[in-house]
Structures are given as C-alpha cells and as structure tokens.
C-alpha cells in the first residue's frame, strides 16, 4: 500500500483550489481571527458564527471535497478540543464557556481543514519562501514532505515483514520489536540521507 492518499484532496481541481495560495491563506487567517476575536455568544455572536459557518459550508461545497471525508476528519480531530472544553465546565459560568469554546474550535477546525485540503503543500512552501523564511527551514520542510511518504511506506513494509514472522509475544515484546523497527528505520534514513546528499551534489547543489 502506498500512503500517497494522505493529501489527495489538496490537488483536486475546483474554483477554490484554483485560487492563489496567498489569497486562500489570507482568507483563512481572517476567518480564524474573526472567530477567536468574537467575544460573546449573544444574539449577534450567534449570527456572526452562523454566517461564518455558512461561508465555510459554501466553500466546502465549491471545493468538491467529499463531505464525508471532511466530517470524519472533523470528528477525528475533535477529542482534544472536547477535552479542554470539558474542563471549562468545572469553573463558574462554565456552561456558556463550554458552548463558546466548542463552537469556536469547531469552526476553526473546519476552516483549517478546508485550507489544508484545498492547498497543495508545495504552495505553502512557496508562500513561506516569499516570506523570506531561512533556507535551512525550507530545505528541511521540502525534504520532509517528500520523504515522509517514502518512509511511511518503508515502515509499513518492515512492519509487515516482521508481522509475517511473529507468532506470539506479549506487550513488552511488541514494544521492543516496535522500537527495533523505529531504530532500523532511523539507521536506514541516515543512509538514505547520504544518498540524497549525493544526488543533490550531482546536480550542482552548493
């Protein structure tokens, strides 16, 4: 199995996907700021949040990302938010804080999900480059994005090979085996890094 599906929706072709990366980022940041700066959950607050939700839903529909995918991702990411919001229940006036936090974080999460699934990572790199990020950071990010797929695939192949020859074992054995696997992956990764360095040099990297 190849893990190239991880960011599959960021390369769809839709009205939203075709917009410039900077614009999408700016709109997302503006929406996020509006959400966290809106102080209260009265009538006007509810209207504002509802309006933002409508905008987000509209963008989601335009983006052609399957709604089921967005909903699942949203639910998967909600637990931490729920946990923190849940804590707020234990303080005076917690009920309303809880509601506000839940609304805020859900809207924010939805915004970030939409942004990340309509913008290929290469575009984000380009924006970062335009912001004059240090080249070491850019190189690291670019290499990381490129090789995380390769390493995840490699890890899975190794894990499968191990499982094929594992017949029993308690929890402690599993831990040791997993750690060995991670250690081996790191060793292989350093060797791969050497080969990549050679390939970069071969094409004139300084």
């Amino acid at each position: 199995m190849h893990h190239d599906f991880i960011d599959r929706y960021s390369r769809l072709d839709s009205v939203v996907h075709r917009r410039a990366a900077g614009l999408k980022l700016a709109v997302a940041l503006a929406l996020l700021l509006a959400i966290i700066l809106w102080p209260r959950l009265d009538k006007s607050g509810l209207i504002a949040f509802a309006a933002i939700a409508v905008v987000l839903l509209g963008l989601a529909a335009l983006s052609r990302i399957p709604p089921g995918f967005l909903a699942t991702r949203l639910l998967m990411l909600e637990p931490f938010a729920l946990g923190i919001a849940f804590l707020s229940l234990f303080q005076p006036g917690g009920g309303q804080t809880f509601l506000l936090l839940l609304l805020r974080s859900t809207l924010c999460l939805f915004t970030v999900l939409l942004l990340t699934n309509t913008m290929p990572f290469a575009d984000i790199l380009r924006v970062l480059k335009r912001c004059r990020s240090p080249s070491l950071l850019l190189t690291t990010l670019a290499l990381m994005y490129r090789y995380l797929f390769v390493l995840i695939d490699e890890l899975e192949r190794m894990q499968r090979a191990r499982a094929a020859r594992t017949f029993r074992g308690g929890r402690w054995q599993t831990w040791r085996a997993l750690a060995l696997l991670a250690g081996e992956l790191f060793v292989r990764s350093t060797e791969r890094a050497e080969r990549i360095y050679a390939a970069m040099c071969a094409r004139g990297w300084k």
Partner: protein, 250 residues
C-alpha cells in the same frame, strides 16, 4: 589515441570505503566522446562506486581524484561545480534522486543551480518533460508517480542540466518489460556520452558499442558488446548470463 577526444579517462583508480572494504582496485579505462559504454558485473562488483567517482561525489577526500579526467580535466575541489555540470548521474533508486516536493521543482533544481533565470527554467522544464513523454506533469508530487514515471522524471532532471556525460546506474532495474523497452528507446537518441551500469544485458546489447566487465572491484574484461556479451563462459563465471538478444535461434 589522442587525449583530446576522450570524455572520460580513468587511470589506476582504487577506492576503499571508510569501513575499509576495498571497492575498486587499480581500474583504468577511457571512454570517447559520444560513445555509449556498458558497465556490467555481479552485485557488489563496484559499478555504482565507480559511477559515483565520475562526478566527484566519491571520494569524500580529494586524494584519488587526480586519477580521473573528464574531457582532459582532472577532477579537483576547484572544478567540482564545472565537473558536476558536465557529468549527470542517474541514481539507482529514483526515490533518492527525486528529493523535491513537486516534479517541476525537481527538474528545475539543476538549471536553477546553474543560474538560469526563472522564465528560462520554466521553459527548460517544459521542454525536458515533454522530451521524456511527461508533458503536463509539472505540478504532480513524486510520491504520486508510478515507478516508470519516476524514472522518467529522474532522467528529465539530469537532461535539464545539459550534461555532456551521462552516468546511469541501473536505469531499468525496477521497470516492467514495456517500461524497460520504452526507457531504452528514450535513452537511445540522447547524444551525450553515456556510461550505463546494469544487469539488463538486453538493454546493454541494444545501446552500447563497448562493454566493461567489473568483478570484485577489478576490471576483468573489456571489449565490443557483441563479442563480450556473447561469451557465455565468461558471463557465467562472473554471475551474469548471455543476453537473450544475442542468443542463437532468436
């Protein structure tokens, strides 16, 4: 033989890896400009190590470099950038070679390092990608490509550097027969001097005029492709086989 026309000249090259395993022993040969030479031999014969020497990736210390001349120019620390522009290397594993997040970035890597302007780079990438049959692949990410496509992008990345010498390390090892034939056909018209390390003896037979046989870090035999590849006892002795293309009754 006049030196002026030799693309690669290697004299008495030996190399020891840092873990003190001897990879190359006293290798000498030369390749004329425009020639296509096959480098064959069993696993661990030193083929990849030899290719890495050609553009100065090995040795890490420049001690041995005087043994290698590219267009009469001995490799040294000072002319390394120039050497690396002259010699393009296609690495064994496409995943090691494609280190950029998108196909465009990857093919553009060499030209950008060479100092081309951005419109020139874009045009270069478009032309090179079209030449390897991947028109319109610019925005794709390497991890979304098939193995055959990855190989082609690697080749495009090397071609975009306009190298005069191409060192190809197992260019068809992970391809299915159709992709292998297609890739061989892509390599054939390329006019640069080529040195191809491979176990794919059919491809070697088709592309190369001359063959070098390496085993245990030594140059065991050298000769015209048709003669050497047809020498069954020699091939079997060094862990190879007779190329199907040259077998009788075909």
């Amino acid at each position: 033989m006049s030196t002026a026309h030799q693309a690669i000249e290697i004299e008495n090259l030996s190399y020891c890896y840092p873990d003190s395993s001897q990879a190359l022993r006293a290798i000498s040969f030369s390749v004329a400009e425009g020639e296509c030479v096959g480098l064959i031999g069993p696993n661990g014969a030193g083929k990849s190590t030899l290719l890495l020497h050609l553009n100065g990736i090995l040795p890490e210390t420049q001690r041995n470099a005087a043994h290698i001349r590219i267009f009469a120019e001995p490799i040294s620390r000072d002319n390394l950038p120039a050497i690396r522009r002259t010699v393009g290397v296609l690495f064994q594993n496409p995943d090691d070679q494609l280190f950029c997040p998108t196909v465009f970035e990857d093919v553009a890597f060499g030209p950008r390092q060479a100092g081309l302007s951005e419109p020139e780079v874009t045009e270069k990438v478009r032309v090179t990608l079209a030449a390897v049959g991947l028109h319109g692949f610019e925005r794709k990410s390497p991890h979304h490509l098939s193995q055959g496509e990855k190989r082609r992008v690697c080749l495009a990345g090397v071609l975009a550097c306009e190298a005069r010498v191409l060192a190809l390390d197992e260019p068809t090892s992970d391809l299915d027969p159709r992709n292998r034939r297609a890739f061989t056909a892509l390599l054939k018209p390329i006019r640069a001097t080529k040195i191809i390390a491979s176990h794919d003896l059919n491809m070697i037979a088709e592309l190369c005029q001359r063959v070098l046989l390496l085993d245990g870090g030594e140059l065991v035999a050298e000769g015209p492709a048709a003669t050497l590849l047809a020498n069954e006892p020699l091939m079997l002795e060094h862990g190879l086989e007779r190329a199907r293309a040259l077998q009788p009754g075909r």
